[in-house]
C-alpha cells in the first residue's frame, strides 16, 4: 500500500511537535489571566484523558466522572488540612481512594450496558455531590467545603503563581499523554478496544471482559483523583458545587467533540470546550448558543470527532511475495 512508505513519519507528528513547543513557551507570551485559562484547559485535558480510557477506549458510558475527581480533591483536602501532609505526597493517596471507590461502585453495575450504565453513573455522581453537601462523617465541611489547602511544594519551590502551576499541570499532562499512549498500544489497550467493539466476541477470544471493564474504570478514576489533588491545591478550596453534574458533562463532551479514543482528539476537545468560551467572552450569553450550534453541526457532519484515532501501527516484516504465495491456501 501507498501509505507504508509515505507514513513512516506522518506529517501530523510535525504538527504535534509545533504544538508542544508552543505549549512549552506559552506562559512567556501570555499574561497571568490567559495562563490560568490554559491551566484549566490542562486540568480538563487530563480529566478528559482519564475518562477517555472508560468512554473512548472501552465504550462504557460514564457520566459521573466528577465523582472520582471529587474523591481525589476531598481526600487531598482533608488529609492536607487535618494532618498537614504535603499536597504532592498525597497524589498516590488520592489515586488510591478514587480508584478504590470506583472499584466498589463499579463492581455491581459493570455488567450494565450503554444507557443503563450511563444513568447509574449519573446517579453516583449526584450521590457524591449531595453526600458532600450534607457533610458526611463531619469531615467534608458541608456546602462551604474545605478551605486552607496548602500550595504544592516541589524540590523546595513553592508553586504559587499561575505560570508555576502551568508547568506543574502541563508536565503532569505530558506524562499522562506519554503513559496513556503507550498503554493504548499495549495488550491492555487492545483489550479495552476489543470489548468496546464486541463484548461477546472479546470474551469468546479469551479476554476477561469483566476484569478489563473494571480496570478501565479504576485506572480512569485513579487518574481523575490525582487531577483532583492538583485542583484542590490550585484553588486552595474545594466545595461540592465544583463537582456537579455539569463537570461530568463537560468531560464527556470534550471527548466526543475531540475524537473518542484519540489522545490528540481529547486535547483538542479540552482546548475547544474550556478555551474557546474564554476567547468569546465578549459575546457574553450568545457564546453558549454559538457553542451549542457548533456541537449540533459537528454531530451531523463529523460524528467521529474532530481528530478521530489513527489505527495502531505494527512492524510487519514484508517477506518476498513469491515465497508467501506458495504457502497461501486461502482466497483473496
Amino acid at each position: 500500500m501507498m501509505q507504508n512508505t509515505a507514513e513512516k513519519f506522518p506529517k501530523r507528528y510535525i504538527v504535534y511537535g509545533i504544538c508542544a513547543v508552543l505549549l512549552a513557551f506559552a506562559p512567556l507570551l501570555l499574561d497571568s489571566y490567559w495562563t490560568d485559562v490554559l491551566n484549566n484547559v490542562g486540568l480538563y485535558a487530563i480529566l478528559g484523558l482519564s475518562l477517555n480510557l472508560i468512554v473512548g477506549h472501552s465504550g462504557l458510558f460514564n457520566l459521573g466522572h466528577a465523582a472520582f475527581y471529587a474523591m481525589g480533591a476531598y481526600t487531598a483536602a482533608i488529609l492536607n488540612t487535618l494532618f498537614k501532609i504535603p499536597i504532592l505526597l498525597l497524589l498516590p493517596a488520592s489515586a488510591l481512594t478514587a480508584g478504590l471507590f470506583a472499584l466498589i461502585i463499579a463492581r455491581p453495575i459493570i455488567h450494565l450496558r450503554g444507557d443503563y450504565l450511563c444513568i447509574v453513573t449519573i446517579g453516583v455522581g449526584e450521590i457524591i455531590r449531595i453526600a458532600l453537601i450534607n457533610d458526611i462523617f463531619g469531615i467534608t465541611g458541608g456546602a462551604n467545603g474545605i478551605f486552607g489547602i496548602s500550595r504544592p511544594v516541589l524540590f523546595g519551590l513553592k508553586i504559587n503563581k499561575p505560570y508555576e502551576f502551568y508547568y506543574l499541570i502541563w508536565i503532569f499532562a505530558a506524562v499522562t499523554v506519554f503513559l496513556f499512549f503507550r498503554l493504548e498500544n499495549s495488550r491492555f489497550g487492545r483489550a479495552l478496544n476489543y470489548l468496546r467493539e464486541d463484548e461477546v466476541a472479546a470474551e469468546g477470544s479469551g479476554i476477561n471482559t469483566a476484569y478489563y471493564k473494571l480496570a478501565a474504570f479504576v485506572l480512569g478514576a485513579a487518574w481523575a483523583g490525582m487531577v483532583g489533588t492538583i485542583y484542590a491545591s490550585k484553588m486552595m478550596i474545594v466545595s461540592p458545587e465544583s463537582f456537579n453534574f455539569w463537570e461530568s458533562v463537560i468531560m464527556f463532551t470534550l471527548i466526543i467533540l475531540g475524537g473518542s479514543g484519540s489522545i490528540p482528539g481529547v486535547l483538542m476537545g479540552a482546548f475547544l470546550i474550556i478555551g474557546l468560551p474564554e476567547v468569546f467572552r465578549g459575546f457574553a450569553n450568545a457564546r453558549m448558543l454559538i457553542f451549542g450550534a457548533a456541537m449540533v453541526v459537528m454531530m451531523i457532519f463529523r460524528p467521529q470527532g474532530i481528530l478521530p484515532p489513527h489505527p495502531r501501527k505494527y512492524p510487519i516484516p514484508r517477506m518476498d511475495k513469491t515465497n508467501r504465495m506458495s504457502e497461501n491456501e486461502g482466497t483473496s
Binding site: 498503554l183 499495549s186 495488550r187 491492555f188 487492545r190 467493539e197 491456501e329
Partner: protein
C-alpha cells in the same frame, strides 16, 4: 481417547427445551460434525460448550475436567476456541489486531508493563505479533494483515475468525457454519484448511449445512433434531440412516 465429552446435556429456555439429553464424544485429533435441520439446537450446544450458556442438566468434560459453569474466557484459556455463526469480528480494527485478540489469553503483561514497556512486555508483544502473522498466513490472509476487517470479503472474514480462534492456541476448535456464504472454490480451500488444522493436532468440532463439506471432512457425525440426538456415526452410516433421511426430507405419510 476422548478430548471432549458431553453427558446428558439439557438446556431449557423457559418452556422450550432447546437441547434435550444430548451425549456424544469428540476423540483427540478427530473432526466431528454436528448436523441437523435449522433450529435443531446445534448452536445452543456450541454455546453450552463455550460457556455462553449454562446447562440445566448434564456435564461437559474437557480433557478430564468438568467445564460446565465456567466463564467463557476461562474455557478459552483451557484450550477451546470458537468461531461464530453470524460473523463477530472487531469491525473497526485491522485483520492483524483481530488475530492479536486471540493471542491475548496467552500473554501476561498488564497496565504497568504496557505503560513502562518492560523487556518482558516487549518480548511478549514481538512474539504475539509473530504468532498472529503466522496464523494469518496459515489461513491465507497474510497479505491482508493491515486491512480493516470489515473491508474483507465475506469468505475472508470467516477465515479471519478462524485465524483469531487459532491464535488462542486451542486444542479443540469449534466452527459454527464455517462455509456459510462461501462459494465452491472458497469451500474447497476451507476443507484443506480444516485438514491442515487437524494436522497441527487440533481437534475440530463443526456445524455445517454444506453436506459436501461435512461428508468429505468429518470422521464422525452427530445428528440433532428438535434438541435431541437422533443418530451418530460415520458419514456413510448417517447417509443410510432412515431417521436422518426422515428428519431432512420428511416422510411420505406426513403428506396425507
Amino acid at each position: 481417547m476422548s478430548l471432549l465429552r458431553l453427558e446428558n446435556l439439557t438446556k431449557k429456555f423457559g418452556g422450550l427445551t432447546a437441547v434435550n439429553n444430548v451425549s456424544f464424544e469428540s476423540g483427540q485429533g478427530s473432526i466431528v460434525g454436528l448436523i441437523g435441520p435449522n433450529g435443531a439446537g446445534k448452536t445452543t450446544v456450541f454455546n453450552l460448550i463455550t460457556g455462553n450458556y449454562q446447562p440445566n442438566e448434564g456435564n461437559i468434560i474437557f480433557d478430564g475436567q468438568p467445564i460446565a459453569g465456567l466463564l467463557t474466557h476461562k474455557i478459552v484459556s483451557m484450550g477451546i476456541a470458537r468461531t461464530f455463526q453470524t460473523i463477530r469480528l472487531f469491525k473497526n480494527l485491522s485483520a492483524l489486531e483481530n488475530v492479536l485478540a486471540g493471542c491475548h489469553c496467552r500473554m501476561k503483561s498488564g497496565i504497568f508493563g504496557g505503560m513502562f514497556r518492560t523487556p518482558a512486555q516487549k518480548r511478549e508483544e514481538r512474539e504475539a505479533l509473530e504468532q498472529a502473522l503466522a496464523e494469518l498466513d496459515f489461513v491465507g490472509l497474510g497479505e491482508q494483515a493491515d486491512v480493516l476487517s470489515s473491508n474483507l470479503s465475506y469468505g475472508n472474514q470467516r477465515l479471519l475468525e478462524i485465524a483469531r480462534a487459532l491464535a488462542t492456541r486451542p486444542r479443540l476448535l469449534i466452527l459454527d457454519e464455517p462455509a456459510g456464504g462461501m462459494n465452491e472454490q472458497e469451500t474447497d480451500s476451507l476443507i484443506r484448511l480444516i485438514r491442515r488444522t487437524q494436522d497441527r493436532g487440533i481437534t475440530v468440532l463443526l456445524i455445517e449445512h454444506d453436506m459436501g463439506l461435512v461428508m468429505e471432512v468429518c470422521e464422525k457425525l452427530v445428528v440433532i433434531e428438535y434438541g435431541g440426538k437422533i443418530a451418530e456415526g460415520t458419514p456413510d452410516e448417517i447417509k443410510e440412516n432412515p431417521r436422518v433421511i426422515e428428519a431432512y426430507l420428511g416422510t411420505e405419510e406426513e403428506d396425507e
